[in-house]
Subunit: 345 residues, 2 copies
């Protein structure tokens, strides 16, 4: 089919008058180990170089039962946060000599399950998944099977799989504390999908900060059920029209904050004079809004990088009697202060 005929160990061996074995050994850097003569080795190496030959990874994979391939299933590559994770993972795995098979689950649990199964079938040596939803029990069996699999972002410590995520509790608490310091007492929270682990933890952090100041948690101003712009718009609108007297809004995602901004503008509330706002996930454009938005930043790159590190450690000790010390990593978050929080009183 292609005009460039793939040549093989066998062909090279024939042409050079040596055995396949020798060629194989030289090409896989085992010349030293088998004490193959300098001369033979260079002949082979030169020829391979000239012909631009590399052993067929498919055949290798079949024989070795390892494919030098990592699977990544991600909820939604368009989302810049996930894109950041994916980018970092792509680079890190490449640098380690692995190829990346990417699967986008579109936030759909069924697709996610299929993707994971397909990837194992494809014999990936390891896998990273950003669970699409709040349920990842379907992944539990892989923990038992001791497969190299690490969870990112949406995680559950109980499931017995290594993971890396941000310290979402601290994030919620930190943002709320900031608002509190600036004199806010009525702080609404746009919570995103409440069944989501990240949402729950952030809201818990929010509640903890409030409790620290002796302020009651008011369920009426903790609202929302999606992480997107539309949700932020709608819930802010409802909140404002309900006449609840909030002086600040904590939006648990960037799109949520965008939606809130739109609602606020429509309702003629100035930001931050009338209503302060803090966003989550520091996308570059936040600095360019008016006003520039104060936000809680989590590092997608750090998450991706850490996931790869943990995964490869797992792969290394996979067959060793690894005692599966469950590497769970909680990455720190930081508050980026800009101009969307107003000092009260």
């Amino acid at each position: 089919m292609f005009s460039r005929p793939q040549n093989s160990l066998k062909q090279i061996a024939a042409k050079l008058g040596v055995s396949m074995t020798t060629v194989s050994r030289v090409l896989s850097g085992q010349a030293g180990k088998y004490r193959i003569s300098e001369e033979t080795a260079t002949t082979i190496l030169d020829y391979a170089r000239k012909e631009n030959f590399t052993p067929n990874p498919i055949a290798k994979g079949l024989r070795l039962r390892r494919t030098n391939t990592i699977g990544l299933v991600i909820a939604d590559v368009i989302n810049p946060f996930f894109a950041g994770i994916a980018s970092e993972i792509a680079n890190a795995t490449r640098n380690l000599g692995y190829s990346l098979i990417l699967s986008d689950s579109k936030g759909d649990l069924t697709l996610e399950k299929q993707a994971v199964e397909l990837l194992w079938q494809r014999q990936v040596d390891g896998m990273i998944v950003c669970p699409a939803s709040e349920s990842f029990e379907h992944l539990a069996r892989y923990a038992k099977e001791r497969r190299p699999l690490v969870l990112v972002d949406q995680v559950s410590p109980e499931i017995g799989l290594p993971y890396v995520t941000s310290d979402n509790f601290a994030a919620g608490k930190m943002a709320t504390a900031h608002l509190l310091e600036y004199g806010h007492k009525r702080i609404a929270c746009l919570q995103g999908r409440p069944t989501t682990i990240t949402s729950r933890l952030r809201v818990q952090g929010y509640a903890a900060a409030l409790a620290g100041r002796g302020i009651a948690f008011d369920p009426a101003i903790v609202v929302g059920d999606s992480f997107d712009e539309q949700g932020g718009y709608l819930d802010t609108k409802l909140l404002l029209q309900s006449g609840r007297d909030v002086t600040a809004i904590l939006a648990l995602s960037d799109p949520l904050a965008l939606g809130a901004l739109r609602a606020l503008a429509e309702e003629k509330r100035r930001v931050p004079e009338d209503v302060s706002i803090i966003a989550f996930d520091d996308q570059p454009f936040l600095a360019h809004l008016s006003p520039p938005l104060t936000t809680v930043a989590q590092s997608a790159r750090a998450m991706g990088g850490a996931a790869v590190k943990i995964l490869f450690e797992r792969m290394r000790v996979a067959d060793a009697a690894g005692d599966a010390n469950n590497a769970g990593l909680l990455l720190p978050v930081s508050l980026i202060t800009r101009k969307s929080v107003h000092k009260l009183g």
Copy 2:
């Protein structure tokens, strides 16, 4: 290594008392063709279903010389435009039963070359690449070898490879014409990397629109050499401080527009009253800036989808005496009018 022992055709055959061959045929839907008895077929199918068995794709790949795998090399997954393309490609290929091997070239030509080579080595059945730079001559040989490879975004018709990109010339012309209609005559252009095909075509469109109105092309106000925010900031700053009297800026990317906005704010020019601005690539947040930015939208999703269609067509006719009618696709762009263009006079 894993507790779940992969079972194989051989094992199934043994357990069921039939031959591997039969199992293989049934499982690959060839039961009819070989007139295998209803009974045998269902037995095998049931067992496979129960055991959740799927033939090892690696072995299959080795035997069949086709891996059901597509390669994608992309300049930068974090860039939302490329992320959109990647997302669409991921979904489309998945729906067609293919897995996607992703490689991020980081906009680096060397990495891109390596990625492409590695992917062919990995025996991908087809490949899509978004060239990182203005040079893609290194891809020319694949055209000669008649490999299924399609270029996206940054393309060159002469190279003999099928491609899909936006109508960049029309895009530049359309945006400029809009400005012209609104009475602008001194229109600066933040051109991004000028060696880039997309930049060149858009600037040509800009020039054409100007020429259509008998306005001279002034090289002094067509500036810049990168597509990022920093570049937009710097070049706008210089432009303003040089005292050139521009009334509008055409920014050939979103980040460029963001940078321009920052510079404009610093220099106390109001948008759009003092200076109008049009951006490129419609990112969701553009609607949330103040003012909401008018922009030229190109559909990343459409590009990804089209690329996959063309690729699979190519793959289908790869060995047929395909007359290689060079499918080059120019996707239409559209102008999204918001509030950043002021009517003059």
